[in-house]
Symmetry: C2
Subunit: 122 residues, 2 copies
């Protein structure tokens, strides 16, 4: 990782009342959105320093190094943040078969609705 | 919108303690992640029924029809949800110059870190 403004910018981030910020993870090779998980200030720093994603597990209340046991690590290519400073977008190189614990490549594999004839084009 | 399993699937979604679910908005034409915002069960239903994104504004505590005043509406192409059922990924056709109130196309226009030599490839 090469980042001259690290400290200043992490300070710009806005964490919620639980001390967390959501991180959207996108595949840097083909732009597929793989997952969303949460980070603390500490795991944001760890992600930047280690060059791979480190989250906060809300269910286990512990640091969660993505892929530590499964091998499905995510290598950070870039980290952006949004206009409110309260959401991260992290582009990664995904190791293994994918990001989802179900074995699917993306966690977003379930469809709620799909448009056959987009209304603006019909 | 064409959705045979609407009611059943909205019932599968998991809303947080504030009654909200995060919705990641991705441009369906070029896969750029445009923004993330929050929805209530009601605004998820409105989004599906109206075929354009309707959010919940946490700062104003009111329903927020994206682009209602700016014209930067988002027409829904598909709605997916993740393995935990607590995050939405909505692919849209974005009207206007973009999704961000700053005038940028994506809300994620600020860079926290960018890798020059990804560690797995060096």
């Amino acid at each position: 990782m090469s980042e001259p403004h690290l400290d200043a910018n992490v300070g710009d981030l806005v964490f919620n009342e639980a001390g967390l910020i959501p991180a959207i993870i996108q595949d840097d090779d083909d732009d597929v959105v793989l997952m969303m998980a949460w980070m603390t200030p500490e795991t944001v720093e760890m992600t930047l320093q280690e060059g791979r994603t480190v989250f906060w597990s809300r269910s286990r209340s512990e640091i969660w190094r993505k892929g530590e046991t499964s091998g499905e690590r995510q290598w950070v290519r870039s980290v952006n943040y949004d206009c409110d400073g309260d959401v991260l977008l992290i582009r990664v190189k995904q190791d293994g078969t994918g990001a989802c614990h179900t074995g699917e490549r993306t966690c977003f594999h379930r469809v709620l609705a799909a448009s056959q004839t987009p209304s603006e084009e019909s």
